[in-house]
Symmetry: C2
Subunit: 400 residues, 2 copies
């Protein structure tokens, strides 16, 4: 059995339940004799190379439970994507602090970092067990049925659209909501999860998995307005044109790219303003509104899927168990084994690292602007029960 110190860090965008995984891992790690010191690195890999470490053994269980209920990376996060030299620095620090277990909570970029590190460690003959603890609101990791963090963010999106459906019903017109999601439309698809009545909306849902056509969009909105007197639209920020280029890229005066080479899509209203303008100029509808949800959905205080919180905790705990029990590196996967029940398994890092899962074809309607009942079956258990809203029954009075 590998014996030595362990280090935990968090990378990438925060989620509502990422700290559940952190606390799950810490509490489980304390039970295992193979783990001596338990370090936390602040700001992810940046805190490792900068030796910005803290002693997680000194945090009380009561403190941990409060942190677990708090959104956004409590160990603080980073967007750094380590290159080879960076990974060498990390490994040097691991050797210096006798770190034999590394738990990295993050998305597919973080899994990639884990993979590179594990290869480096192997080459240098250093005994190191690396566990990727998945988290991402985008739900875009391969292998796992779904990702911790998605259920809570999806709950936000569903709750927002349920209210906006009633709002648009009350005041008519067209409303467009732009939702996070670069390559995968899982979050945008969640806009339909709280829909109760056939005419509630969102009536149109555009995902990055299908090319977005401006003419078709205008036509589909027009048809919906004709039918229902209003139209509620959900759009992924990552929608692409026929050539596969993100629409936002062509709308922004200057592109901003992060360390991973990604165009910055969030934190700008440009796409929403264009989507609104196209409807207003083509259809001359008086009331056309658009909001870009942006960062609200990933750390909103109090909007948490109960099942997401439980699973995030479990994924953190299982990471430690798998690491100590098998001595193998890997990524923790949530496997759906019932309706609804899950099991946890250890998967090779290479199966997850740097790869992206998209919304499967079976979840997308033939018109490219709706989602199927299969998606609802898939996603509803992840979001948990939502408040039940209702329309006022209409008993018309005969005109005098």
């Amino acid at each position: 059995m590998t014996t030595g110190n362990a280090l935990i860090a968090q990378g990438g965008g925060p989620t509502a339940v990422i700290n559940q995984s952190l606390v799950g891992a810490i509490i489980e790690a304390r039970r295992h004799g193979a783990i001596k010191q338990l370090y936390g690195a602040r700001h992810g890999v940046r805190g490792i190379v900068g030796e910005d470490l803290c002693d997680l053994a000194r945090v009380t269980t009561a403190e941990l439970e409060r942190v677990a209920r708090s959104p956004a990376a409590a160990l603080l996060s980073t967007r750094d994507k380590p290159d080879d030299a960076y990974c060498e620095s990390i490994l040097r620090m691991f050797k210096k602090y006798d770190v034999r277990y590394f738990f990295y909570i993050g998305g597919n970029d973080s899994a990639d970092t884990c993979h590179i590190l594990s290869v480096f460690a192997q080459h240098s003959g250093y005994d190191l067990v690396i566990l990727h603890i998945p988290k991402t609101i985008d739900n875009d990791l391969l292998v796992t049925d779904h990702c911790p963090g998605y259920g809570s963010a999806a709950r936000f999106v569903a709750s927002a659209f349920a209210g906006l459906a009633l709002d648009t019903r009350a005041l008519s017109g067209v409303y467009i909501g732009v939702v996070m999601g670069r390559h995968a439309g899982f979050l945008t698809a969640a806009s339909a999860l709280a829909r109760r009545f056939e005419d509630d909306g969102p009536h149109l849902i555009y995902l990055p998995e299908r090319p977005f056509d401006r003419e078709q969009y205008v036509t589909q909105v027009e048809e919906t307005v004709t039918r229902y007197g209003r139209c509620l639209v959900a759009v992924s920020e990552g929608i692409v044109d026929a050539s596969g280029e993100p629409l936002t890229a062509s709308l922004l005066p200057s592109e901003e790219r992060d360390a991973h080479g990604n165009v910055q899509l969030s934190g700008t209203g440009a796409l929403g303003d264009a989507l609104r303008e196209w409807i207003q100029s083509a259809l001359h509808i008086r009331r056309v509104r658009c909001d870009t949800f942006g960062y609200l959905l990933r750390s909103f205080l109090g909007v948490v899927s109960p099942i997401d919180a439980v699973e995030a905790r479990e994924v953190g705990a299982h990471a430690v168990r798998f690491a100590v029990g098998t001595g193998e590196s890997g990524s923790v996967s949530i496997d759906r084994v019932g309706d609804y029940a899950v099991a946890y398994s250890l998967q090779p890092l290479t199966a997850v690292a740097g790869k992206t899962k998209q919304v499967p074809d079976a979840f997308i309607g033939d018109d490219g602007a709706t989602i199927t009942p299969s998606f609802l079956d898939y996603a509803k258990p992840l979001v948990g029960a939502l408040p039940v809203y209702d329309h006022l029954p209409f008993h018309p009075v005969v005109k005098r």
Copy 2:
């Protein structure tokens, strides 16, 4: 005692608890013999002149309770602001249906409609009791201590900023959130209500009550970043320049005005994009993000202040009691009589109609970019208890 039929309608923007007032009024109205038929008009005053009426007596209590818990005007709403001819039409319909009690749930524009109607009825010698039932997320009505709908929308804003504070703490940089509020900054001020730690943010809060100066804004953001390594900013969509002109008006290519002559401020990302761009170009900070909250905060499913829901119900019920009991027209006011306790009173329509309350000077810091503890004392009871978040206690490891 005035005896005849009653009519209820909802006007203006939806809120999370506007249906509590509707249901409060309906259930109370059923108890009074002075009220014969109980009509609802769909889409506010538009449904009155269009004779789009429904029979509210036929809705069951169980149905009403589900509606009460639903956000956004269940009777459907309107942005119509009746002129004299429109008011004459309404009065004609009231006579036709023997409406002697009119309950209009809305903001100060709706109160204005109530006032005009009451004058017209008096002039024509028609016995009509008109009750304005206040609602507005903006909290900008005179006389009343606060408005039903504000507490729930403020709860959304507080919850959003609490999460964004943790998010910005995890990833650093500058985050700007643009919040609804044309003339009054009550909603934007609510961004501070969930703040626990001194460095949590929002660090800067800009309201429409103080002229916004771009240079000063950049300087204040720079100072905050120097101090905390990050900056969280809350901005009202209605912020004005030194001449009193809304900043959004100068940023939009074409102005859109509603029937009330107001420039359209919501549903566009223009202000947010400018606020972000000004920081990026002046300070060269890598990570600057801005979101415009838009319409999410007024009808989000499940984010409701418990006290707001109770008071909205009470305000609806008291409107009926005051109307039948006194035979006088007026607006229902919530009067703070304890810490925290309220009473309800009937106020003249003229005290509320068409007038706007702003955030008092005592609630705004001398620097024009913060709010005072007095505001927190005022607003915290309205929002209700929020989930408690926490930072991870930091026990540093000595560098080797």
